[in-house]
């Protein structure tokens, strides 16, 4: 049904998005807790900065990553020499770019979820003997779960379509950084690739549709689970 090239692009897309979402999630949760619960000077600025990837052109994000983590950039070179970590021209770089771009989706959804939790429940838990960590694990986290799930799924879906930041930062290498959107782009660019582009586009559309249905189902399940 799928050619090897198509299957490769599909699996790579899924892997990049999965890693991107999973790695960004803890940071999004921490940032959401900070913004939802803490009060500190410069909070509005931090809030805006964290949402920047949402409004910046993805190309700019890719360019910034290149200047910071490219093999000739100071940090990128240091990471490569001392820890053997290379983001440039690697699928991990694609995941990093995707994770960064879709970070605000997770942040917003988790923050909304946290804001919807009745603070009185935390107080009740306190009078019943629960300390801060205990309350976070047994009250806050389970009740924020619908928000976390929604955020992760939205971010995953958005990540599947990421193009600009990936192609700018890690280029378009088949089997390494050529995700579905990049493969479609390549197909369109090559003479006689219209049929291939159409097939890949259809694949993208089906993937998005299945993803959205699964997302809806997962969200409903978690809401029931937490008694909403």
């Amino acid at each position: 049904m799928l050619t090897d090239v198509e299957a490769e692009a599909l699996l790579l897309s899924l892997r990049v998005s999965l890693v991107a979402v999973a790695c960004a999630l803890p940071f999004a949760l921490a940032a959401a807790m900070l913004l939802a619960r803490a009060r500190f000077p410069g909070k509005t600025l931090v809030d805006s900065a964290l949402h920047l990837p949402l409004v910046l052109p993805p190309v700019v994000v890719g360019y910034l990553l290149l200047t910071i983590l490219g093999t000739r950039a100071p940090l990128g070179a240091w990471l490569l020499q001392n820890l053997g970590i290379r983001f440039a021209f690697s699928w991990t770089g694609a995941a990093l770019a995707s994770g960064l771009i879709t970070f605000p989706f997770q942040l917003r959804a988790i923050r909304l979820g946290l804001a919807g939790i009745d603070r009185g429940l935390g107080q009740a838990a306190e009078t019943l003997g629960a300390g801060p960590t205990d309350r976070f694990i047994h009250i806050v986290l389970p009740l924020a779960l619908p928000g976390i799930v929604t955020g992760a799924i939205t971010a995953f879906a958005a990540s599947l379509g990421e193009f600009g930041a990936i192609i700018t930062f890690v280029s378009n290498i088949p089997g390494e950084t050529q995700t579905l959107p990049l493969a479609i782009y390549s197909a369109i660019q090559s003479p006689g690739g219209e049929a291939e582009a159409a097939r890949l586009s259809l694949l993208s559309i089906s993937l998005a549709l299945v993803g959205m249905v699964l997302a809806e189902m997962a969200e409903r399940r978690t809401r029931v689970l937490v008694g909403q």
């Binding site: 009740a124 306190e126 009078t127 019943l128 003997g129 205990d134 389970p142 689970l225 008694g227 909403q228």
Partner: protein, 359 residues
């Protein structure tokens, strides 16, 4: 068991400066209008609000003292809190809600205690449900059980009945009375309902505009005219305890023994020995200087006048002492003058009707 509470806290536009001390266990009602500062006091006692100044000690254990820098966190205070909105954890079953504080208690009650509380509150058939599937009254009972199972030294109840309709209130009330009489757990009961105070409380602390306006035993304060006008209670009168001492099945009457003598009332379906609270409203008590004969009233009590106060509306409020019980009678000023009523005078109190609060 002594509860000492002194709380001073300033909000924008409101100042709470309340200090009181209760020297015996039982139910202490924090009574007063909405916005008087009752919940703020409860929150300070629980540790959910840190007063700017104050000292709070439960049975000699200081949990807060601003001058000594003591502020025990809520989880270390062993104070159970039943909130008005019940605040059950929506993602947990009733059983897990009940076990939340139970698992975390320093002195964990055993499985048998868990079973006893579940049984007492009638929660057996609800254990596997989520809070969203409970009625208001059921939520209240679960919240009560959850707080109890954390083995508190003191239980705070913040208007636990306020959000419920009359039927749901009637459903919860017997459990609260059971707690008072059987579990004997000291309770601070926040309410704006004088009916709840009358039925449940031993000690009354009246909070008004952030200050303690009056305090005393319920049985002393409720027949007090000054308290009644201060609190603006719609009807006032005597409240005291009585015990079912005999049942007259032929005449369908019940005899209640009390500190002011026997009272004969229409039949109450409770076994001999049952303790209950009796109310005699001021307008239901008449005064006679001689023992009336050939009268329909069943209850004529010997009493001595403690004071007579007349007002500009033509009323006279007569405070009476009958045995150990304080009674009060509201008659017309004209009658008081005609009978020449004065403090120290022995009289007969004719009781037109006795209100019995059934448990």
């Amino acid at each position: 068991m002594t509860i000492e509470i002194a709380v001073h806290h300033r909000f924008a536009g409101f100042e709470l400066d309340a200090a009181f001390r209760v020297a015996k266990p039982g139910v202490t009602a924090l009574f007063g209008p909405s916005g008087a500062g009752k919940t703020t006091i409860a929150n300070a006692v629980a540790g959910l609000l840190r007063p700017q100044e104050g000292r709070i000690a439960i049975d000699g254990r200081v949990v807060f003292d601003s001058s000594a820098g003591i502020d025990v966190p809520p989880r270390g205070r062993r104070i159970g809190y039943v909130f008005q909105e019940s605040r059950l954890f929506p993602h947990m079953s009733v059983a897990n809600n009940l076990r939340f504080g139970w698992r975390r208690a320093a002195r964990q009650a055993g499985e048998d205690e868990f079973a006893r509380v579940v049984d007492m509150l009638g929660l057996e058939h609800l254990l596997s449900r989520k809070p969203a599937k409970l009625s208001g009254g059921e939520k209240g009972r679960v919240a009560l059980g959850r707080a109890l199972l954390a083995s508190p030294a003191l239980l705070l109840l913040d208007e636990p009945l306020a959000a419920l309709d009359a039927a749901r209130k009637a459903e919860i009330f017997p459990y609260l009375e059971k707690l008072r009489d059987e579990v004997r757990l000291p309770m601070i009961y926040v309410t704006h309902s004088i009916d709840e105070v009358t039925r449940l409380a031993d000690e009354l602390v009246f909070v008004k505009d952030g200050r303690i306006a009056a305090q005393g035993p319920v049985f002393d304060l409720l027949p007090d005219l000054e308290f009644a006008s201060l609190a603006g209670t719609p009807s006032y009168g005597a409240v005291f305890e009585a015990t079912v001492s005999a049942q007259d099945d032929d005449d369908r009457l019940t005899v209640l023994a009390s500190d002011c003598g026997d009272l004969i009332v229409p039949r109450i379906a409770r076994p001999v020995g049952t303790r209950l609270r009796v109310r005699l409203r001021a307008e239901d008590v008449m005064i006679a200087r001689e023992r009336p004969r050939e009268i329909s009233a069943n209850n004529i009590l010997d009493a001595t006048i403690a004071s007579v106060r007349s007002d500009d509306e033509g009323h006279a409020d007569v405070q009476l002492q009958s045995g150990h019980v304080k009674l009060v009678s509201r008659i017309t000023r004209a009658s008081a003058v005609r009978l020449g009523l004065a403090a120290g005078m022995p009289v007969f109190a004719i009781v037109k009707s006795v209100i019995v609060d059934l448990r």
